[in-house]
Every structure is written in structure tokens, then in C-alpha cells.
Subunit: 379 residues, 2 copies
């Protein structure tokens, strides 16, 4: 087990004058601090003794109800199909430890979310990467990999993927679902960013494809659209899978903080989260545009950047023969940070890649940071 | 994997007129609700954006400092030896997944905490129970078991054990530590109740014995002495073990809720937790006395009850040939609940045992509950 390079980079940042594109964190100046303060006040005024006591592992009814309402926008969901989690990372780990035994293969995108790699590694999974194009994982490659490896699970982030920012098209979702239904492999679908859309049409999760709801664990989180510090997320699952996840959560941590569950439930019932998301998305969109414009102006020939319709990340493939991990120390010396691409890969990495977050800096700062980054790479 | 019988019993309680001795929960009427409300208000007034943002996996500095201060009463501890956890159940799971591989043996007390059994089972451990007497685990039996099974870990709750309420004597702590130092087996020491002492002298943890600090993961929790709903605990470990636990926590859940961490840190820095504990202990003591007096008056010859000096539980061994799990439905029909003893055992259980919590009912209610319990058993 290795530590997360992102977390290790975050640990040394915040010191001095470094422009960071390394974080996977939302802009804290956009948090609805007053609404959260009021939500916690409400909980202590009306539900105080309950908030401080032990409670069920599955989660507080009010929060499960709110989660079901939001999930039902794309996929009919009842509150009793919802398990509350301490952020979606816990949901990811619960699915990993429940559905995967040591030595089992899990198929993931190339590249994929690196803390998912950590969670799967922790339960002894063998990760195999499947190739993607700009529309997401390739169905033929998926089917070949299922035949070759007999995986226990497929893990996908179909919308505004971490690290690439890519979104799987509607046609591709149907094709991937078709492969999974035919081969009977369960899906872990991670959707932490889906609501952070700046443009284009919202796409239902793969779990909403015919035959998929019962074989999918769908992860949602309050972290990216409300606040990560409260550690509240939820997952949707059905039948025996849901029951197994609940039992695993008993062993891993009994339950999620009741204080935070009730506060988030109150927030969702009382405030206009959609309006907040629209506000945040408008600001993030300007920052994405600034990053893409500055990249286009600076990148050398042959380098490519993704053009995400939402989320938090642009993925740059520089090409050539420089290893981004070796460029990083130079970049930090010049006052800019990013996450090198290699840890996002199961198997052989493309070491000329890097992940850039566009959400925590102003357009001007983004341009200045990219000027430093260009100097570090020698563009 | 089985669900926890305690959690399943708790799920059907609270309906109707049942006197419950089944819980492992503190009396919620004794929570310092106003102090917690003020602590959360303080956090939102002074640390709001920080409370809602991602933070480090190891935990917030203020809370690590407060935890180190309390741990240092018995064992010199610096803040950088503290890992914050989402309750001590998470600490238990992190230690299990870090120190134990599938198929490895873990030695536990007979009986032991049943949710620990769940956590160890989840990581594929093979549990072997070691006999105890009223002074705790027997050192000779421990040494024999280490020789016979080559365990990766020993798990102990030395003070006011769950489920028995027993406390390991000072001499026994030294003898157990001697065996562990000689054989080189690491210790997971769980101490959620230690501060809830009604009488007698406080005993330092086994981790404070010579040579033990570096080979022990010591779990503490805010749950039993402050409030379980906030899900804040911490563990003490050193060197590579501490680093491995931190990396595992990245994969299991990234971090503990910052809101709750900062609120608990403020509470510990601002309010007199010792005075609160003394107040709670005084009330729990009266309830323990009521339970023991009522048991003494009602139990048949041959039945025994432990006489805990603190904590929350009395352990009754009825003897004879009745299975407490089969008595439970009759007891619930008569309006009283308890936890049958069998799930607390690794290996062959003593099925005539049961765990009774004395902390959530008044002396009068305890006596009435035990009258119903006596009827259910046919005493």
C-alpha cells in the first residue's frame, strides 16, 4: 500500500506562494456557510439528543428520503434503497470489500480515480485497465477484458471523470450496459461530479439503463456540490447487495455522524441546492474556459487537453519523452503544482500526463499558473 | 458475514413498552447538549470554511493535541502519535485491515466485543478465543495460543470489558505485556470505557507497560464519555504502524468529518470533561448497584453476575441448559430485552450467558425489567 500522491502533495501546499492545480477540492469561498451554520443550529435546537446518540447503520430516514428524491430525477429510487456513507470514498470502499475478494480482478478505466485504486488495493484486488476514448470506456475492449479476466466488478466514473474530465456519451452508456447485462458483471458507478454540469444535457447514470439498477452500486456525495468537510454521501443499491453493504459498514465504522446527517438532510429540505449548484457551475465554467484558453495558447504541438462539460478537472497529455512526475519538483520551485498522471493508471502508465484542477483559482491566477507550468515543462 | 445481533435488536426496540438492557449506548439525557451546541456554533463562527472543506487524513491539529493531552495522563504521547478516527470502530477496522491478512489468526478474549468480531471477520481473520478469569486474559493460555497459532495480533479490552464489565488487574497487565514483548506479537488495545470508573484506582493501559508503546495500537473514543453521534475517536500508535493506519484510512474514508473534529476539539479545550464524567459515573454507579442488587435477589443458585467497577455492562452466566438466544423472544414478549451471549464468542460459545447494560434505565425501571427477565427465564 502506497500513500496517495494527491494527499501528499496537498500536505506540502498552502505554504507560500504556490498556485495549485493539484487539489481535488471545491472552492471553499463558494460554500453556503450561513446555510450550513443554520442547519446545524436547527439540529441542535430540535434534534439535539438524537444527533449526539448512536443511530442505525443504514442512515437517518430524513437524509435517505432526500437522497432518494435527488436520485429519482434519473432513476426511480425509494429511501429504503439508500445507504448513507461517510463520503463517497467510504461507499467505494464498502463496495470493494463486499464485492471483491483478495486476488479478484476489478476492471477500471485507463486512467481512473487514484483513491479508488487505493481502496481496491486495500482489499487485495488485482486492477486491470480498459482503454477509453473521448466517449468513455470502449465496449469491445470491456467485453474482451471480461472474457480474459473474469472480473468480479467493473468500476466507472461516467460523468466528468476524475482525472480526465471526460463524460461517457448516451450511446456508449447503453453499449456498456448491454455488455454488463449480458456478462452478468456488477457495476460500481461513481458519480460525485454529475450535478456540476456547465453545458450540454444531463445524462442518466448507467444504473438507469435497462436491467442495470439491480446490478449497480451507484455512489453519490455531498462533497463536491455542498461541502466535503461534513463527510456525508450516499449510495443506491438493491436487495442482497444493499444488505451486504450495510453489514460491511457495521464492521468498518458502525454509522455516519448523526449530527452531519441531520444537518445535511435539513439543508437539502430547506435550501435550494440546485440554485447553489447553478451559481457554482457558472463560476467554475469561467475558470475552465480560462484554463483551456491558456493551455491552447501555451501547449506545444502534439500536446492535448480534454474539454470537460463540467466537474473539476482538465487532463493534459503532453506527449514527448518528459515524465510529469520529474517535472513536478521544477514546477513547485517555480510556484505551481499539479498531479502527475502515473498514479491514476492501473498497469503501465502514460507518464507524460497530468491532472489540472481549474476550480479554486481565478482566471488571472490560472493564466499566471499556466505560464509557470509552461516554464517548468520548457514549452 | 453476519449482521450484528445487537444492532438488529436495537432496530426493533423503541417500539412500545420494552425495558431494554440490550443497548451499548450511553444515557442520552446526560449528554452536554448545550456545550456541544455552543461548540458547533463556535466552529461555524470562527472556523466555518475550514470545517466544510477537505482536510488531512491524520486529523485536525487541535483535536490531536487534545487527544495527546488526555492519553499522556497514563502514557507520554505527542500529537504526532495520534490518528483521528470516525469513532473507535473505525480505528479497530483500520488496525485489522492493516495488521491482518486473510487467513491470519487474531487472538481475542473469551468472550469479546462482538463488533470487533465483525471487523476481523471482514478482513478474513481467523479468530481464536483465549480463556480469561476475573482478572482478565490468562498469560499462560495466551503464551500457549501464541505458540500454537502464530497470531498476527492480540485484541484486548482490558478495562470494563465489553461484554463482561471485567477489568484486568495491574499484575495481569504486566504479565500479559511480558508475554507480548517476549513473543513480539502486536497488541490492539481497545479502551472506550476506561474513563467511566465508579470506584477503585485508574489503571494505565497495557500500552504503558515497558516495551509495549511501540507495539500497541491504543484505541480511544469520544463516544462513551461525550457523545457517540459525532463519530469522533482517536488512536495512539508509533512509527511505521501509525503511517500504515493513515494510508489505510485514505482508502477507507479519506478523513473524519472536520465539523465534528473541530467541535470536539473546542469542547475538550473549553469544558470540563472530567467533571462531566464524574457526574455521569455517579449516576451510572447507582444504576449498577440497582442491577446487581436485583440480580442477587432473583438469580437462581449457580448463576453468576460480574461486578464491574465502571463502564456499562454486567455479564450474567445463568448456567443450566437454557439457551439465552431462545429466552430472548419470551423476554421481549414480557417487555424486556438483553443481548444473548453467543455472538460475543470466537469458537464454541457459552449459550447460557447474556449481556445487560445498566446505564440507560432508572433503578426502579431496572428492578421492574429484571422482574420480567426472571419471569422469562423461569427463575
Amino acid at each position: 500500500m502506497k500513500s496517495s500522491p494527491v494527499r501528499d502533495i496537498l500536505a506540502v501546499l498552502g505554504r507560500g506562494d504556490i498556485i495549485s492545480f493539484a487539489g481535488g477540492i471545491p472552492d471553499p469561498t463558494l460554500f453556503e456557510l450561513e446555510d450550513f451554520r443554520e442547519s446545524f443550529e436547527y439540529v441542535f435546537a430540535h434534534q439535539g439528543a438524537r444527533a449526539l446518540q448512536y443511530a442505525s447503520t443504514i442512515g437517518e430516514p430524513e437524509l435517505r428520503e432526500q437522497a432518494a428524491l435527488r436520485l429519482s430525477r434519473h432513476l426511480p429510487t425509494t429511501a429504503n434503497q439508500v445507504q448513507v456513507t461517510s463520503g463517497s470514498q467510504e461507499g467505494l470502499y464498502l463496495a470493494a470489500t463486499t464485492l471483491v475478494d483478495p486476488g479478484d480482478v476489478v476492471l477500471v478505466e485507463r486512467p481512473t480515480y487514484l483513491t479508488a485504486v487505493q481502496a481496491f488495493t486495500l482489499v487485495g484486488a488485482r486492477l486491470v485497465g480498459v482503454e477509453s476514448d473521448d466517449d468513455g470506456m470502449l465496449p469491445d475492449e470491456l467485453e474482451d477484458a471480461i472474457e480474459a479476466y473474469g472480473p468480479k466488478l467493473v468500476y466507472l466514473i461516467p460523468t466528468f471523470q476524475n482525472p480526465t474530465g471526460r463524460t461517457m456519451s448516451a450511446e456508449r452508456r447503453a453499449a456498456i450496459a448491454d455488455v454488463l447485462v449480458r456478462t452478468g458483471v456488477p457495476l460500481l458507478e461513481d458519480d460525485p461530479y454529475g450535478e456540476l454540469r456547465f453545458e450540454g444535457e444531463a445524462l442518466p447514470p448507467i444504473a438507469a439503463q435497462p436491467g442495470m439498477a439491480a446490478r449497480t452500486v451507484l455512489l453519490n456525495s455531498a462533497s463536491k456540490v455542498m461541502a466535503p468537510g461534513v463527510r456525508v454521501g450516499w449510495l443506491r443499491a438493491e436487495g442482497q447487495i444493499l444488505r451486504s453493504l450495510e453489514i460491511a459498514k457495521q464492521g468498518v465504522g458502525l454509522q455516519t455522524a448523526v449530527t452531519d446527517q441531520l444537518a445535511v438532510a435539513h439543508y437539502l429540505a430547506t435550501y435550494d441546492l440546485d440554485a447553489h449548484i447553478a451559481h457554482v457551475a457558472g463560476i467554475y465554467r469561467v475558470r475552465r474556459d480560462a484554463m483551456l484558453a491558456s493551455l491552447d495558447a501555451r501547449m506545444p504541438e502534439g500536446a492535448t487537453a480534454t474539454r470537460p462539460e463540467g466537474g473539476m478537472f482538465v487532463w493534459v497529455r503532453v506527449g514527448g519523452d518528459q515524465d510529469s512526475a520529474l517535472v513536478l519538483p521544477k514546477a513547485v520551485d517555480l510556484g505551481v503544482a499539479f498531479v502527475p498522471g502515473w498514479p491514476f493508471y492501473a498497469g503501465e502508465p502514460d507518464r507524460t500526463t497530468m491532472r489540472l484542477s481549474f476550480v479554486t483559482n481565478s482566471p488571472e491566477t490560472i493564466d499566471e499558473g499556466l505560464a509557470r507550468l509552461a516554464a517548468a515543462w520548457g514549452w
